[in-house]
């Protein structure tokens, strides 16, 4: 069997992530999540304060478009791309530092 290339795997994951966040997310349950629901039952949900970035353009996964479907979809796609960029950038930085450390070690060994 022909080996699937890493690029194809990466593209597949990205496609799935974009589909889930951009399209399937519209069908997600609106019910409160486990913590929120327990907080309601136990009567401490009101201790939650206003969110500092609660007025942001994408707050609550709502891009503020006319269509609710488009709003959550756009918010989801933006989120996927931002997380992808940050995660990839972080990997790059961590790996570059690794190489620098290795280089220093190598040059130390050769000079010794």
């Amino acid at each position: 069997m022909k080996r699937v290339s890493t690029k194809v795997v990466a593209g597949g994951i990205l496609l799935v992530a974009l589909l889930l966040a951009g399209f399937v997310s519209f069908y997600a349950s609106d019910s409160p999540d486990g913590l929120e629901s327990v907080a309601e039952d136990k009567g401490f949900v009101d201790t939650a304060g206003d969110h500092a970035t609660g007025d942001g353009p994408l707050a609550d996964y709502d891009a503020g478009l006319d269509s609710e479907r488009a709003s959550v979809g756009v918010a989801g796609v933006v989120g996927v791309l931002v997380v992808l960029a940050l995660g990839t950038g972080l990997t790059y930085v961590v790996r570059r530092r690794t190489r620098e450390v290795d280089d220093e070690r190598d040059s130390a060994t050769t000079s010794a």
């Binding site: 992530a17 889930l20 995660g87 961590v94």
Partner: protein
């Protein structure tokens, strides 16, 4: 399980913030050993997938939903230290951009959903790998059990934090029962998604799954030793 601002008092939020920062700092150093040419291209994508999957709340009991946390998925796919970084990135973006999880609660959320789910998910995964048959087909099974356990444990860590610095005077025993009950159910969803995600990548490229490496290396050793015997 995104904790909003105000659930915890200031000292607790500061302490969880310090613990979270320390965990991310250690992970940044340790992740170097996990990141190689095979795992590195997938890290950002795994984080993006976890973000997308976290948007999908699924109903658990009447009027309550749950969503993936993703610690076990990330740990098994790219390694536990890198997994903490993936989940922390997701939580940071959710808190800042989407008002999902309080800004002052970011440390608490990292402790609960990045550190706890990764540590528990990975520990259970590795523990099962040691005792169960060493073949790649077991990798998604071990991962999904780790995923299942990680969710109620994270809810218990929330309860423990609430006992120390919760903003309301409520029965901790009652809170524990309610939290573990609903999160055990959410854990079933977490296990199913983890099984599918890890199983899919394993099916096409097992060498890209960090948690499958030990199994694959052992298999290679067996093959090599048997060919030497034939040659001899």
């Amino acid at each position: 399980m995104h904790v909003p601002d105000g659930f915890f008092d200031a000292p607790t939020s500061v302490v969880t913030g310090v613990v979270a920062a320390a965990a991310v700092g250690v992970s940044l150093r340790k992740a170097r050993n996990e990141l190689d040419d095979r795992t590195a291209p997938l890290v950002g994508l795994v984080a993006a997938f976890v973000f997308a999957a976290q948007m999908l709340n699924f109903p658990v009991v009447s009027g309550t939903s749950g969503h993936l946390m993703g610690g076990a998925i990330a740990a098994v796919l790219v390694g536990p230290w890198t997994g903490v970084l993936c989940l922390s990135t997701v939580l940071l973006v959710q808190g800042l951009l989407f008002a999902d999880g309080g800004i002052t609660a970011l440390g608490t959320n990292v402790v609960l959903m990045a550190v706890t789910t990764v540590v528990v998910g990975w520990a259970v995964f590795r523990g099962l790998q040691v005792v169960l048959p060493k073949n790649t087909a077991m990798v998604p099974v071990c991962a999904s059990v780790g995923a299942f356990v990680s969710v109620p444990v994270a809810s218990l860590v929330f309860v423990a934090l609430y006992a120390v610095g919760g903003g309301a005077d409520i029965s901790i025993g009652g809170l524990a029962t309610a939290m573990v009950g609903v999160h055990a159910l959410i854990g079933i969803g977490e296990a199913a998604i983890t099984f599918l995600a890890v199983g899919s990548i394993l099916a096409v490229r097992p060498d890209l799954v960090y948690g499958a490496r030990r199994v694959l290396e052992q298999r290679e050793l067996v093959i090599r030793s048997s060919t030497t015997e034939v040659a001899a």
